[in-house]
């Protein structure tokens, strides 16, 4: 791949986005993109450019039952008051999480911050999401620019057919926001959503492979922790 010309790389990215790159070649390309920022930019270029073709289609209204099904998955748009009150709205849970976050601050004082995979990544805050049962944890490091990195500290691989999913906790009255599936093998960089504010915490739950099907945690929440460190604002 490294010997391919810029033109060839753009061509491969275009064929990937267009969909003519299929089968094993498509899988190989997806692996290459993961480690190749330039190739990723090419994919983004074509996704954006060809994506504008969608604007040309004549409108075709979908049947209304599809929105009902989507709403059932993500929760109704009519406000939290009508949403089913699940575990995440439970006051005792939140009191517990707050106490746990305070306790973890002490742990953080002696914690060695893992080196980030990107030398330009400069964390200003850290959170340790600890599993009380076995002491394993995830480390979330947050940089001033709103990016973060998550890495496992001894967390066991998820059970077969399951994935770990990272959540941003925003307070007792708001549902957590998914930050995507996370791997015990490799640290992952992510961009925190605009809803991220100082004082929030993180959690990792066990979900069906590929992540929660509902947009909210469905499996056991094994790791929880709050951010500690100097604020940048």
């Amino acid at each position: 791949m490294k010997t391919l010309s810029t033109e060839d790389r753009s061509q491969l990215a275009a064929e990937y986005v267009l969909g003519t790159l299929r089968g094993p070649a498509r899988v190989r390309f997806e692996r290459l993109v993961e480690d190749d920022a330039h190739l990723w930019q090419e994919v983004a270029f074509w996704e954006h450019r060809l994506g504008t073709l969608g604007e040309a289609l004549p409108d075709l209204a979908p049947p209304s039952h599809i929105w009902t099904a989507i709403e059932a998955e993500i929760g109704p748009a009519t406000g939290a008051a009508q949403a089913p009150r699940g575990l995440w709205q439970s006051a005792p849970l939140w009191r517990g999480l707050t106490a746990l976050a305070v306790g973890l601050a002490a742990v953080l004082l002696v914690l060695t911050v893992l080196p980030a995979t990107d030398p330009a990544f400069q964390p200003v805050q850290v959170a340790t999401l600890q599993n009380e049962a076995d002491g394993s944890a995830w480390l979330v490091q947050v940089a001033a620019d709103g990016t973060a990195e998550i890495a496992s500290i001894g967390a066991a691989a998820p059970p077969s057919g399951r994935s770990y999913e990272l959540w941003l906790l925003r307070g007792a009255d708001q549902a957590p926001v998914s930050l995507g599936v996370t791997s015990t093998q490799t640290p992952r960089r992510l961009v925190l959503p605009a809803s991220f504010v100082q004082g929030t915490g993180f959690a990792v739950s066990v979900e069906p492979e590929g992540g929660s099907p509902t947009g909210a945690p469905t499996g056991p929440v094994l790791f929880v922790g709050g951010l500690v460190g100097p604020t940048n604002n």
Binding site: E7, S10, Q11, A14, E15, V17, L18, G19, T20, R22, A44, E47, H48, R49, L50, G51, T52, L53, G54, E55, A56, L57, P58, D59, L60, A61, P62, P63, I66, W67, A69, I70, E71, E73, I74, G75, P76, A77, G79, R170, Q174, A175, V177, S178, L179, G180, V191, L192, P193, A194, S195, G211, S212, P213, G215
Partner: protein
Amino acid sequence: MVTDDPIGPQLEAAARGDRAAFAALYRQTSPKLFALSMSILRRKDWAEEAHQEAYTRIWRSAHRYDSNKGSGMSWIVTIARNAALSKLMRRPKDEFAGNETEMLHLPSGDPTPIEAAMRSSDARRLATCLGELEDEQKKSILLIYYQGLTQREVADHLGRPIGTVKSWVRRGLLRLRGCLDSEDA
């Protein structure tokens, strides 16, 4: 980079958990995205499943949307198209979508309705550059984009050898890239 993008702010609100903003985004964009799903899958039941999958993905990954990298509309179109293509690639080998009765009239090869319907400046730029391609190059690329056809299926559809179609697609994309770069400059 993107100024005429009403979808971007709705995505950012959805990323903050704002379901009302997401509902508004759905009302505004679902007719386009459903048309795309139907265009690619040409079976209502499959298109409905892909459409639902697409919006669930949009909701769950809205925090990954970056307005610096492109418009919100092209971002959600990409997600919808990928959801439809995933479904298409999983279809049984013996099912050929072309036999379906629920066919649609779509901008499969004719540039005129595209140019007429395109609104954003980025979309107009793409239309201009598509207009510079040879007819076969443009037709092949649009058939693949809008209908999810393989190059083999395009070759069958146009009655030309697959090698010829592959060459049209390759040269067409190359020229498109050159034109878009010069338009950006």
